[in-house]
Symmetry: C2
Subunit: 213 residues, 2 copies
């Protein structure tokens, strides 16, 4: 017992190129999303990444540097995929495609909802401005554009307030994932693989037709 798992110092044999850096980013994403910047120590991130704490400063200069790098690494590719998919979307299916892409992304990346709550919704969030510009800015936001197009095409009532409509849309699409831990408990662990698709169908239907008979 007590087979000392102490690693030896010094440059490791070749093969790990950049994996330490990426392990740190992954560990940071998971921990910071769950508990927030202040509540997570550099040691904890290093442990989660199975890496020496000093490597944080070697690769990122500081805890703050690691956090910023993690945010960029997390959100830059996401927004690129969202914009490109929506730009090439067939008009008639744009709404459905938006729900699908958005909700699948949230479902597949469990660290996203809490991270969005922290950095977009919470007071002092670092991504609020950027997010609003991407999604809701007059004329330039993805959501704004989408709803205007749908109104022009007669698929959304013309007299509906576009901002309130966008709010309802985001509420229906995002909240189930924000509340996923509760949902899971309410459903009694019956949340299986096909759940996500049923949820998306249901959501699109409520958004368009409502629940009245």
């Amino acid at each position: 017992m007590n087979t000392i798992p102490r690693k030896q110092p010094g440059r490791p044999p070749t093969g790990n190129d950049q994996t330490v850096r990426q392990q740190l980013l992954a560990g940071a994403r998971s921990l910071f999303a769950q508990r927030g910047y202040d509540a997570v120590s550099t040691r904890q991130v290093a442990d989660a990444a199975n890496v020496n704490p000093a490597m944080i400063h070697y690769y990122f200069g500081s805890k703050e540097g690691l956090y910023e790098a993690m945010l960029a690494d997390t959100f830059t590719p996401l927004i690129e995929r969202l914009t490109s998919v929506l730009a090439s979307a067939d008009d008639a299916d744009a709404l459905r495609n938006f729900f699908k892409l958005y909700m699948h992304t949230l479902g597949a990346n469990p660290w996203m909802p809490p991270l969005i709550l922290r950095e977009v919704v919470a007071e002092g969030g670092r991504l609020r401005g950027w997010f609003i510009q991407q999604f809701a800015s007059k004329g330039g936001g993805m959501l704004t554009k989408l709803i205007e197009r749908e109104q022009a095409a007669g698929r959304i009532r013309a007299d509906a307030d576009p901002t309130l409509t966008a709010l309802s849309m985001v509420s229906l699409a995002v909240f189930p994932f924000v509340a996923m831990p509760v949902t899971r408990e309410v459903f009694g662990m019956r949340v299986k693989t096909d759940y996500l698709d049923r949820l998306i169908d249901h959501t699109e239907r409520v958004f368009l037709q409502g629940v009245a008979p």
Copy 2:
């Protein structure tokens, strides 16, 4: 200048009966809701309450005791009002009444949404079980009951999945307040007094009829 604002020790002249205790509860509610238990120090709560840090231990025994007292003080009266109003609600207006009461409560108490996120939604939240029992338990939950009644009365499609329907309902009613800081910025501070009523109207309409023409 520097008019030393140092207070004198000793029992204060009569009149403040129990106000220190209540100031502490109010300060704790606001700070803990915003930043969470660990991120807020006893000194900060005492400062916010304009009270000496030692009073926390005098009245509540510990930081933990203060937090528990704050939660009880916050949620007990709330759930009582919700149940009593819903029990006496006229059937035909039950749905509307629920949206109104629920959303007005969230709108009037800005510390509620973040507190619910922390203590109900987040991993390890202390109120999760209690909340689920009150709102979503099979047979006994307010929401469950409400939706079953509405389906029986033919005001909600009978083939709609009750749990998914409840999820949509809560999403529409809660998310706008969770995201209020963002909403406010998107609306450009045009969130005025009548905003809440317009939001409630819009929400009920989307829930029942959807946004399609």
